[in-house]
């Protein structure tokens, strides 16, 4: 159906998409996880209420989240160039992906950790646990199932963002879909890329849910 060349391109695109998505997710979690935990800890009902910090973080996160991803990707291009040396290709796409998804991940982490029973946190405090111990030994392990579900959502969202970057010279399947499907009216290639994306999302979502279920000891 497709030439060897097209198939090779699709294969590369697939790998690039996976690469961008998972590397971006990893970096975004490095920022988003502590950020989300800080939101929970400094909340007015948290274990170390600090309303000014909570307020500032909340506003910054909301601003970043309300900027449309493409606009954000274009806006941060100077930063992308200074970090990666280029604004084109899969590697360069990682910068805007991290910036866009870290605040989103912070909110996912926040809502997962807030689900942890207040009583359990209180019990840990009654045993003399420090705030750090509460975070590391109670909040994170107890919220693990929700965090895993959240990470599946985060990864699939990053994947769809990464596809968008095709418009501004990012790599991966999105780039192929736009260059061949949109610019050159090769609908069949676009369709194939979409199908591949759908399959990737399905797999990530399924694996995430399964991992969460296996890891959850509540039932």
């Amino acid at each position: 159906m497709f030439s060897r060349q097209i198939l090779g391109m699709l294969g590369t695109g697939f790998l690039e998409s996976i690469f961008m998505t998972f590397v971006s997710a990893a970096f975004a979690y490095l920022i988003g996880l502590p950020l989300g935990l800080t939101l929970v800890v400094t909340d007015k009902d948290g274990i170390r209420p600090k309303s000014w910090l909570n307020g500032i973080l909340g506003v910054v996160i909301n601003i970043l989240r309300s900027v449309p991803f493409l606009i954000l990707a274009i806006t941060v291009m100077p930063l992308t160039r200074s970090v990666m040396g280029t604004t084109l290709g899969a590697r360069a796409t990682i910068v805007p992906l991290v910036i866009a998804s870290a605040p989103f991940i912070a909110r996912l982490v926040e809502s997962a950790v807030k689900e942890v029973d207040k009583g359990v946190i209180e019990a840990a405090q009654s045993m003399g646990a420090s705030p750090m111990q509460v975070v590391l030994r109670v909040m994170l392990p107890e919220a693990k199932p929700s965090l895993i579900v959240g990470s599946a959502i985060a990864v699939t969202t990053i994947l769809s963002y990464s596809a968008l970057t095709g418009f501004v010279g990012g790599g991966g399947l999105g780039d192929i879909a736009i260059r061949y499907g949109y610019n050159r009216y090769q609908t069949d290639i676009m369709l194939v890329t979409v199908v591949i994306l759908v399959i990737i999302v399905q797999v990530i979502q399924e694996v995430g849910m399964k991992l969460a279920r296996i890891g959850d000891k509540r039932k």
Partner: protein
Amino acid sequence: MDRLEPIIRIQKLTKTFAGAGGGLTVLDNIDLDIYNGDVFGIIGVSGAGKSTLVRCINFLERPTSGTISFDGKDLNRLPEKALYKVRQSMGMIFQQFNLLMQRTALDNVCFPLEIAGKSRKESRVRAEALLELVELPDKARAYPGQLSGGQRQRVAIARALATDPKVLLCDEATSALDPKTTRGVLALLKEINRKLGVTVVVITHEMTVVEEICNKVAVIDACKIAETGDVSEVFIKPKSLAARKLFYPDDVTTEHFINSRCCRIVFDGNSSFEPVVADMVLRFRKTVNIIFADTKNIGGKAFGQMVLQLPEDDTSAEKMMEYLTAKGLAAEEVRDYV
């Protein structure tokens, strides 16, 4: 430890929660001494402030004013780190058990030991011994989600005891359990107090819990301590209205029956098996009317009170009073309230 020095001393404790309209006072000028080895009940209706009181004892809630001393240390003066250490010598159990749902029973018991910086191996050995103590050695690998309420509370008790605390704080520990399970958990608490010498502070709204295991009781009502003392004393002669309402909830309704001479007999555990009232009636050949009776079995003795309407003629009434007193019962004439 010196019996004369209270292990927990609460002085002039006031707690106010900030809020709209100037704040809400939940504890008002509380003074309380809890001695080593006591099983101390703090009883009151919902909203009386008991849960806040117990959280002030381990400083989960910081008092607005007043001092809490634990083992001679003023908690207010302790730096944060020292406070964590102090909390390790105060175990706490909760109405909702508050176990870590993603850890096995054994790992739950290990948890406070990890917090205290004990090695994994040492923690496991200790945790296994504690699960033995609470009679759940076979549930070590079970997750809380697989255990019943009573079993969860037993795990919670084992966990609270892991760091060898001097005090065990129980916040409505049996309120979510059925009566049978409650008795089992209370028996366990009593045993822990007796065998390990752990001072137990029991927060409850249920009189039966106090009856079952406490030797001292404080009645808390409307943010204040209404009355405190030995359980038998407070139970026999409740001085405060709050205590009377708690111990004899039906009492108040009998007030309007009193139109002639009545007397209250108090059973203090000495003469429960003698049919005193029946004997008295046979002896004086005058009838009495039992207006109110409420006796309970506490630690194998009968405690409680009975209100009798005495015969109209004064001589018989006097003689009956004398007879009751001679029998070693505390009898007093009551006119205004029962």
